[in-house]
Subunit: 177 residues, 4 copies
């Protein structure tokens, strides 16, 4: 296992704000001397639902790289955009195509929830906690709810001080977790 | 809206038992004089994660048919195979590509959970209930937990009498719901 | 079963706003010609945790009245104040002391979530939906999230028009459910 | 904070098997040289729902002792008996009467679920994880599901080897967590 943190930008929506938030996390880790790499679900092969799962899991060359990273990593941040009352299906499909149990057992995860509306992806983070725990990964208690994200980001910067305070604290906690 | 029941076989795994269970439900509806059609997620276009979602939702010819069915239907059965502590990601991706809010508002849903192990997809059904409720669809309280499904099915027939009793009761409840 | 709606004010906190919201619901039912009675958990016997549960359930005279009402009713509204990330323990204890399965099987429930903060009791309502479904009761999909309730009520009146629109719609839906 | 582990026997049912399971955990900690003390919810004051919560929290002499213990401890085990699709209401009421945020912030918790039936308290543990995370406490991913507990315990001993294997592993994980 390596010491990098992998930050999963948890949607494949082209204009997603998730990637911008993932970059904010990346900078916060960098500021504390910790290398962090972003895994952008827009980079999944287009036919991942069929080429990357079940009997085909790990057979596609295009998935070898991120499967290897997820397996070798010891810590993750999941940036989750709320969609239809939970997280996007692509995020669970991504997880469904990883190697088990080595991708998650005893690893440490931090979750951040984004929403256009006021809910802050609360249910999405609850569901993902169930899944990660089932897969053997521990989840930090602190899960920032970045609600109304549109009004709280500008040009890639989170302008809400309370949000940034929670993110900075969570980043430090994940490093020590 | 039409009076057919649509039964979603909630995985795209090729050898999935979900499709067999969907057929059991279909027969039970037929025995009560209700037409039921199966939507098999193995029929999704291979590149659905990219061609069927967000800015592309509804633009692919291959998705027009099932989007139309989901919109026109008034009742659904979701057959859910437990996978990584919840339902397969493809099922949520399927939902993410449907038309809103007309696909779900005030519609009636029944859930059935399958698992190879002992859990019976309990968390998967809880998560999907959250999502369907969020989307405006009502969910029947009775949600059969078809655990250890391998030992309880033979040649497409559910051999566990208790399971069949719950399914028959749930089918009648959905018709009257 | 009778046709009254029973509205459970789901906390025993003395100054709870839940009771005020329960009265708002009561008035909305009355305006549509439907009788609604409030069950106020502050009226539970002080020693309910011991006198009203398990081997003692139903033996205390002070619990006979509300146990009878919950059994005879066919529709409920649960007004839920968020507390420690879910609903107050007293609400589940109340449910734990009821008669099974006749208190809930095939009954219809509506949930409303209150919170001092921004979450609107989302997780609380998800947890209670799991419990009510387990007990056999159907839950309406629409579950108003009355966040920041302090700023949105004045002298027993909900001043937020969007909140009232959702409540009025939910009340009509429960009557027809 | 002290180094004891506190094991909460999460019901006040008189004949509860939870207490027996709590004692199994206590012995496992002892075998590894770690002191563990059981908090038995049957010892709560009879009128705890009214004397121990909200404006009265901490004022009753009978609650001072366990409130102090919960505040000073750094690690907990919650033994949870499934009841009505979740954990008993008394457990949440117990939590509702503790001091915040010092009782839970950054503490480490392990959960074990018991059930008479086959579900193994899966939803109960999911709900409690949401609550503990909300309160700031981290939860171990491994959460043994001790289903059909009646058939798997005899005279205070868990006779199911697989159950004991999971418990022993979880105890070691909590010590290192």
């Amino acid at each position: 296992m390596n010491n990098k943190v992998y930050i999963i930008s948890g949607t494949n929506r082209q204009q997603a704000v998730s990637l911008q938030v993932a970059k904010v996390y990346q900078q916060e880790f960098k500021a504390l001397g910790v290398e962090a790499e972003i895994i952008d679900l827009r980079q999944l092969p287009a036919d991942y639902l069929f080429s990357g799962l079940y009997e085909n899991a790990g057979k596609s060359e295009t998935t070898i790289d991120f499967r290897k990273k997820m397996k070798e990593a010891s810590k993750f941040v999941f940036v989750i955009a709320e969609y239809n009352g939970s997280f996007p299906g692509v995020l669970k499909a991504f997880i469904d195509g990883l190697e088990f149990p080595d991708s998650f057992t005893n690893k440490k995860c931090a979750l951040a929830g984004l929403s256009a509306g006021e809910q802050g992806a609360v249910l999405a983070m609850s569901h993902l906690t169930d899944i990660l725990n089932y897969c053997g990964a521990h989840v930090l208690a602190k899960k920032p709810k970045l609600a109304s994200i549109g009004a709280n980001m500008k040009e890639g910067v989170i302008t809400n001080e309370r949000y940034m305070k929670h993110i900075k604290l969570q980043v430090r906690q994940l490093i020590e977790f």
